[in-house]
């Protein structure tokens, strides 16, 4: 019965009804017309309130709800607008609304829950400021219920408005990207020993039509009395496969600074770097109920765009604690279908938290190495992410308490290295540089 009704009587109604009952009874027994009148007037009031709430229930059922939002930003704030349209001719008062949304997204300003009055034939906009974080996040529906002025009756909770999804791509600093380029070149990591586009010196020769004027070496040209151009070393193209774990463990950490989000930003910077370098790359995001990623090796701006689109499609609500090995194996199978028979670099970014997972990782790493690929396991130090969200005074205690976890994680890394699988421990600060270094170290020559 509770599911069928659209109007509910509250506990106040029960209390009022009991009071009315006794007033009327006393009135009848003592034949006091005043008491009977009071009782009947109060009863009429209850019935009137019920009629009003019934009307409101019908109006709420027909209420139109829409969601609008500004372009979302990772790590920034953007406005979300909930538009409520009351097409009815009666104003709706004491309407309680509650914006349902993904529990993984936070609104920093504005009330997601409160009371409003919806004037007749009106459009009411509730403005909220959302703190952006990477991924695909649900906004809606809006739960709505109304009460009468005394709170005697309330309507059923109506879920109105369709669900909107906000896709937030990971942000990466252009400065980080520049530093990556300079870092790689300054270390001479991108040499190919062949002339072409690049910055490393290769050789000099006489000018030929078609050569870029900026390559003319003026001092040598004057010395030899003919135009001499400087040739640079061609930077080699590399196939890079990045497997990014998005399982429940990767969601550890404070809001917008979880392991996954840090690594997603690092991967975005790396992909931007690879796309500028002209490398081929494929991104596979695994661990959730759904696997995302580029369908095959891609390059340049398009590859970057598709990768970013995939990272921003990760829905945190679909990620539940579960069998991580299964997710890893699914990603591995997918990788094998697209893996080129060349010397590829495979980077698996994941947190190792159990012996079973470690064994699965060793198995697939060895198989990939057997296929002449260069495999790197990037192992984020998980406890450092939780620590970021703690007050300073508590961090010392947390370090003590989680030392065992850290020790285990370090131990897993050591085991991997012993098994011949390169493992790199990364933190949020140095992740992009470490990964770039791995790629450049093994760039094909």
């Amino acid at each position: 019965m509770a599911e069928e009704s659209i109007v509910y009587a509250t506990h106040r109604t029960r209390l009022t009804a009991i009071v009315i009952f006794f007033i009327l009874l006393t009135g009848f027994l003592s034949s006091r017309i005043q008491l009977i009148t009071i009782g009947l007037v109060t009863l009429s009031l209850i019935l009137g309130m019920r009629a009003y709430v019934s009307y409101m229930a019908a109006s709420l059922r027909d209420l139109e709800v829409e969601f609008e939002h500004d372009p979302p930003l990772d790590g920034g704030e953007f406005e979300v607008r909930v538009v409520l349209r009351n097409r009815g001719i009666i104003p709706l008062g004491f309407v309680e609304y509650n914006l349902r949304h993904s529990p993984f997204i936070k609104f920093s300003k504005g009330a997601t829950r409160g009371f409003i009055i919806l004037p007749a034939r009106s459009e009411t906009i509730i403005r909220l400021i959302c703190s952006g974080r990477v991924g695909r996040h649900r906004i809606g529906p809006v739960e709505i219920q109304a009460r009468d002025i005394f709170g005697l009756y309330r309507t059923r909770t109506f879920k109105t408005g369709s669900i909107a999804y906000v896709k937030i791509p990971p942000s990466y600093s252009v400065a980080v990207l520049r530093r990556l380029m300079v870092y790689a070149r300054s270390l001479g990591l991108s040499r190919s020993r062949a002339s072409g586009t690049g910055i490393e010196f290769h050789s000099m020769r006489e000018y030929r039509p078609g050569d870029e004027l900026k390559r003319v070496e003026w001092r040598k040209s004057v010395k030899f009395n003919k135009l001499i151009v400087k040739l640079t070393e061609r930077e080699a193209q590399q196939n890079v496969y990045i497997l990014l774990d998005s399982s429940h463990v990767m969601l550890s950490g404070p809001y917008a600074r979880t392991v996954f989000e840090h690594m997603a930003r690092a991967v975005t910077a790396i992909i931007a770097y690879l796309s500028q370098r002209g490398d081929n790359f494929q991104l596979i995001i695994f661990g959730g109920s759904e696997m995302y990623g580029t369908p095959s090796l891609m390059r340049a701006a398009r590859g970057f765009r598709v990768s970013i689109e995939n990272i921003s499609s990760v829905n945190f609500e679909e990620i539940a604690p579960g069998d991580r090995v299964e997710g890893l194996m699914s990603a591995y199978k997918f990788l094998l279908r697209t893996l080129r028979r060349e010397r590829n670099i495979v980077i698996i970014i994941t947190v190792i938290d159990s012996q079973e997972y470690l064994e699965a990782l060793i198995k697939i790493s060895k198989e990939l190495i057997g296929l002449r690929n260069i495999v790197y396991i990037v192992n984020p130090i998980i406890t450092s992410y939780d620590m970021v969200g703690l007050p300073v005074w508590a961090r010392g205690l947390y370090t003590l308490k989680t030392y065992g976890i850290l020790r285990n994680q370090l131990n897993y890394s050591r085991i991997l290295n012993k098994e011949g699988v390169n493992t790199v421990l990364v933190s949020s600060l140095d992740a992009p540089f470490k990964i770039a270094r791995l790629i450049e170290l093994h760039r094909s020559r």
Partner: protein, 489 residues
């Protein structure tokens, strides 16, 4: 959602239907009962033996446009056709001048007016006069002589005695009909144009029993040729002979055919000339309720119709309820008990109808933050974190790892004491390292002293001291970098 709307609509429909029903019942009661009275004479509404309803039905089958009027005003609403026939059989109420003028105004609209007047008394004479027929039916009186059928008809005007059931011969459409009349009169012809089509003989003296009178009469300012068939007895059209005797039925049909032909004729039976007995007055007219005068099935139907009509039972019912209610309210004890019962029932009913819920605000969406060491974070947040022996071991190992990574020395190396002395002072460095090593040995079970009362206090104290020491070498337990340092060590 749809089901709720259907339920609401069903409730509204039921409420509307009940309201309309109540309004209808009150309206019917206001309007009054069925109002059909009992006729005991030769009325076309009488289905009894001496009624003429069978003749009406017989003619309706043939001509269709056969009307029975109970009031002469109804003539205004009857459509005329080429021929109009006004039928009067054994009327009980004489025609007045105003009655005649009403009939005349109707026949002014008709091209060929016909009249059939079958009367054994002088009741119709005014009508005969009004339509210009120079005929008269004398009044008769019946006397009963002896037993059985010893009835004699006496004509006071003439002082003549006539047989009660003379055999009359009628010629209609060249057909001869011999019909017994029942306490009949005869027709006195005063002149004008006429044809005798029926007569009976008493002691060689012929008495006209059927005359056709032709006259030119002005109806509503229009001159009309009126044909009036006058019979001195209405009994030959009664149900008792029409239903049972083919000769009478044939005579009647032939007679009407001679006036109306095969169609295009409006036949009006005047039912306004009979005295109705209201159903409610039947008990005062018990003598009339005999099989001879009324049809019992019809009578029963009328009584049932009257009984089920709201005007019969609704006012008494309301009146009775009102009295009972007044009686109840008069008794204080009964009123109180009833009020209590009513209140309890109303409360129970309302309570059962309503769905009661506890009114709470809607729950806000709670932000989900995943923590790898969730329980530890929770304990820290709630201030319930317990520190113990294992935590001291962790602290020791952390400080030891840092010292190894910074100086390449462990906490047990004497060289470290010298190095730390430069940063902390000799005494402080010595005491710190000594305490740490002793407490670690105690924690791992290598020694019994020092005595530790609370590991929690010890750990808290040495976390503070270690933080001070580590800060001198550029590391902090409070910073994330410590984790990275430990990872690299």
């Amino acid at each position: 959602m749809k089901e709720e709307r259907v339920r609401e609509k069903a409730f509204l429909s039921i409420f509307l239907v009940l309201t309309l029903l109540a309004v209808g019942l009150i309206a019917l009661a206001e309007k009054g009962g069925v109002g059909v009275p009992v006729f005991i004479g030769a009325s076309p509404s009488n289905t009894g033996e001496i009624g003429t309803s069978s003749l009406v039905e017989l003619l309706r089958e043939k001509y269709g446009s056969v009307y029975v009027i109970t009031n002469l005003n109804e003539l205004d609403s009857i459509r005329t056709s080429d021929k109009c026939l006004f039928v009067v059989i054994s009327p009980e109420i004489p025609y007045t001048t105003s009655d005649s003028s009403r009939i005349a105004s109707y026949f002014a609209r008709c091209a060929h007016p016909f009249f059939l007047i079958a009367d054994e008394n002088s009741t119709s004479n005014n009508l005969l006069k009004a339509i210009g027929a120079q005929l008269e039916i004398p009044t008769i009186v019946t006397y009963t002589r002896g037993e059985g059928l010893g009835v004699v008809v006496y004509v006071p005007e003439k002082g003549e005695y006539l047989p009660a059931y003379p055999l009359s011969v009628f010629y209609v459409n060249n057909t001869r009909y011999s019909l017994y009349l029942d306490i009949a009169s005869y027709i006195i012809i005063h002149g004008g144009s006429y044809t005798i089509f029926g007569e009976y003989t008493v002691d060689t003296k012929k008495y006209p029993s059927g005359v056709i009178a032709y006259s030119n009469t002005t109806f509503g300012g229009q001159a009309k040729e009126v044909v009036a068939y006058v019979l001195s007895d209405g009994s030959i059209f009664l149900n008792q002979v029409i239903d049972r005797n083919e000769t009478y039925r044939s005579f009647a049909l032939t007679l009407f055919q001679s006036m109306c032909g095969e169609g295009g004729c409006t036949i009006i039976f005047d039912g306004s000339r009979y005295t109705p007995i209201p159903l409610t007055d039947l008990k005062n007219n018990l003598a009339s309720i005999t099989p001879l005068y009324v049809s019992f099935p019809s009578l029963l139907g009328m009584i049932v119709a009257n009984l089920i009509h709201p005007s019969t039972w609704l006012p008494p019912l309301i009146d009775y309820s009102n009295k009972v209610f007044a009686e109840i309210l008069g008794n204080h004890l009964v009123t109180s008990i009833l009020a209590l019962l009513f209140a309890v029932l109303a409360f129970v009913y309302v309570s059962r109808q309503e769905v009661f819920v506890s009114d709470k605000p809607m729950s806000e969406e709670k932000l989900v933050e995943v923590a790898y060491a969730e329980n530890i974070l929770e304990e820290i947040e709630k201030g319930k974190l317990k520190l113990g022996r294992e935590d001291f071991k962790s602290l020791y190992e952390i400080v030891d790892s840092v010292m190894q990574s910074v100086y390449g020395l462990s906490l047990r190396d004497e060289e470290l004491e010298r190095r730390l002395s430069l940063l902390l002072g000799e005494e402080k460095a010595r005491r710190y390292l000594e305490s740490m090593n002793k407490l670690y040995d105690k924690a791992v079970g290598l020694r019994r002293t020092p005595i530790v009362l609370s590991w929690s206090r010890v750990v808290t104290k040495y976390v503070r001291e270690s933080e001070e020491v580590l800060s001198k070498v550029g590391v902090s337990l409070m910073r994330v970098e410590i984790v990275e340092k430990l990872a690299r060590s």
